[in-house]
């Protein structure tokens, strides 16, 4: 009836000829995809024939890896403006469907420093969105940090959410030394896998690294004493502290959002259960009490609940337990194996290892409606960890019987292996924003 009335009204209006209502077109579908962007190779001004680093290439890689951008390959560019001061011909970019354009320039200045300037343009509106000028030292790590910062600025300007390119990842590598003995190493690298630094190594297994909320310390499990113990270690000073070495299992530490407590797994009470350890008072509180295995705790962003893996239902599934009420609810129902939870910073998504038959893949689930989406298509994926902006998940997988690290965008569209210098990498964890 309403439709008929409306069409009658429309007819009347259109027959009337005048005062036509504007046609209204509803757009409900769009392309799910990355934003087309072009990062033109930066101009270079200096004594040396080439710039000390290709900033544009790094920014391009960053933005691509986030899954949110699809940078135009350099060879497709119709022009290469390399001076942000000069006028840009936006037509050249519009015809390519590029929505955003980054033009920059690097210039050698005194004391081995460089001035780097870039501008981000809106191609279709012919406007400048943002831009910045940096003075940066000549060290590779400084230059890289500056480039990641540019990535962050662009990311935030275009997506209105914080970038996570200037963060780090921690992971464990396993190799063998010259004598053939195993060598376990705790590494910290840039989020893109570059510039790894060894924090700790041991001939005994190292496991389950976890970042403190400030990103200054790591907690981890080490078998260096022949049996598992949990340590915390300041990554800058190297100062470490044993916080848990109870009988049986000491595993899967997880820092509370306020940094004062650790959730961990202890089997001192029989089967592995979740406990809360107050780092100052060393007071230990038992959170779960079951005959099944309860493990891999993670804090909700509010710090009022713990999501963990339990096989109390027969198969490993994710559960949530409140810190106060001790109420437990099952979160996952899809698939026979869901484990190793990691929560998005806003707490709305949970990523996990989702096992089906003998395939273990990374999946994300909407905490509100339980909708599950599998993000990867490899078979032995493990240890997912959300980036601090929730846009990506880093995880470990196997390639040619070797552990490798990969990152996947939360929509699953972009997966990229991180190029690591060495070894068999496992258990990556993404750092929080350093404060």
């Amino acid at each position: 009836m309403k439709v008929i009335l409306r069409s009658l009204l429309l007819l009347v209006i259109s027959l009337g000829g005048s005062a036509q209502a504007a046609l209204t077109i509803e757009i409900t579908r769009g392309v799910k995809g990355a934003m087309p962007i072009a990062i033109v190779p930066f101009g270079w001004e200096g004594a040396k024939p080439a710039a000390p680093m290709d900033v544009a290439a790094l920014v391009t890689a960053d933005l691509y890896r986030s899954g949110r951008f699809s940078p135009l390959p350099e060879h497709d560019m119709l022009s290469r403006p390399n001076d942000p001061e000069k006028r840009v011909n936006f037509k050249n970019w519009r015809v390519l469907g590029v929505e955003s354009l980054v033009v920059g320039k690097m210039r050698a200045i005194a004391n081995g420093q460089y001035e780097v300037k870039f501008i981000l343009f809106d191609v279709f509106r012919s406007t400048q969105i943002t831009g910045q000028t940096f003075i940066v030292g000549g060290k590779a790590s400084d230059l890289r940090a500056m480039a990641h910062q540019i990535s962050d600025i662009i990311y935030e300007a275009l997506l209105d959410e914080r970038g996570a390119f200037n963060t780090r990842i921690a992971y464990v590598t396993q190799s063998r030394d010259r004598a053939g003995k195993p060598r376990y190493s705790l590494q910290v690298a840039d989020a893109d896998g570059f510039g790894p630094q060894e924090i700790l190594y041991s001939s005994e297994p190292l496991m389950s690294p976890a970042w403190s909320p400030q990103g200054k310390s790591l907690a981890y499990v080490t078998f260096e004493n022949g049996r598992p113990a949990i340590y915390t270690q300041d990554i800058w000073t190297g100062k470490r502290e044993k916080v848990s070495s109870f009988r049986g299992i000491n595993g899967a530490p997880a820092w509370s959002p306020d940094g004062t407590r650790l959730a961990l797994v202890l089997s001192k009470g029989g089967s592995p259960d979740i406990y809360i350890l107050d780092l100052l008072s060393k007071k230990l509180t038992r959170l779960t009490r079951s005959y099944a295995i309860d493990t891999e705790p993670v804090w909700t962003p509010g710090g009022d609940a713990i999501v963990f893996t339990s096989d109390r239902g027969g198969k490993p599934q994710l559960y949530q337990v409140t810190l106060s009420g001790r109420q437990v609810k099952r979160l996952t129902f899809e698939g026979e194996y869901n484990a190793r939870a990691t929560l998005s910073p806003d707490g709305k998504m949970v990523a996990m290892v989702h096992g089906n038959g003998n395939q273990y893949r990374i999946a994300v689930m909407d905490m509100e409606n339980g909708a599950m989406q599998v993000l990867t298509d490899t078979t032995l994926d493990e240890s997912p960890s959300f980036a601090p902006n929730g846009s990506m998940i880093i995880y470990a997988t196997e390639s040619q019987n070797k552990g490798v690290l990969s990152a996947v965008s939360v929509d699953g569209r972009v997966r990229q292996r991180l190029i690591l210098q060495e070894g068999d990498a496992r258990e990556p964890v993404w750092s929080p924003y350093s404060r």
Binding site: L11, L15, I25, R29, G30, G67, D122, F124, V410
Partner: protein
Amino acid sequence: MQHPRFLAYSVLVHVTFVAVLVLSLDWSTKPKPAPHVIQATAVDESKIKAEMDKLRLADEKKKKLEAAQQKKLDDAKKASKREEQRLADLKKKREAERRKLKAEEKKRRVEEKKRKTEEQKRKAAEKQRKVEEKKRRDVEKKRVAEERRLKEEKQARKQAQLEKLKAEERALEQKMRQEEEARIKQAEERKRQAELERVRKEEARIRQQQLAEEQRRLDAAREREYQSIVDKHVEIIRQKVERNWLRPAGSVKGLVCTVKVRIIPGGDVLDVRITKGSGNSVFDRSVETAVLKASPLPLPKDRALFDRFRELEFIFDPEG
């Protein structure tokens, strides 16, 4: 009817007129200061005769008187002879007598002359009287004739008036009848015309209605055709914009953004204006960019339809 009254008036007027005429006639015949003869003369002829006789008697008496006088004169003469002496005296006396006679003769002649003059005068008066009489008679005759004429005239006028009145009445009647007939005829004509007009109007109305109906049908058909073209292009535009809309991958749900888009005839997007933003700048920008990227929008070839596309409203509602 007023005619009798008019008639009465008319008669009255005529009587009055005639009366005035008669009176005025009397006045006009009043003679100028007349000689006394007139007074003596009456209308009676016997009186005239008596007068005449009287005059003749006087004449004869006079003649006798004269003869006596002659005899007396002869006697005197004889006495003279006898009385010579005394004649002389007598002569003297006779002279005196003769002179006296002479004087008397003279006097008589004067009187005679006077009488003659008076006779003449009388005759003239008579003549005059006769003329007057004739004149009077003529006047009378004339008056009578006039009276008759007037009477006749009056009669005739009256008759004529009557005739005229009658004629007028008849004419009036005729006229009225004619007018009545004309009126009736006119009324009938009017009625007929009105009926004709009504029929004509009715026919025109029906024709108009049919035309309007036909026009409506044509309009509706054209509108349907236009509408189908518009719908088709709305769909094509929708698809083009959707192809160009990169939905931000953000996790925020329920974002809706409405934009008004102005188009120039080639389909090129003139500008995109956010009329109701989602509150999310990334989402809103993606919407703006989608429309700008979709430019030029595919418009119908028929320029007549351009007006409908001049301004478009897009509602970007991923959950719509």
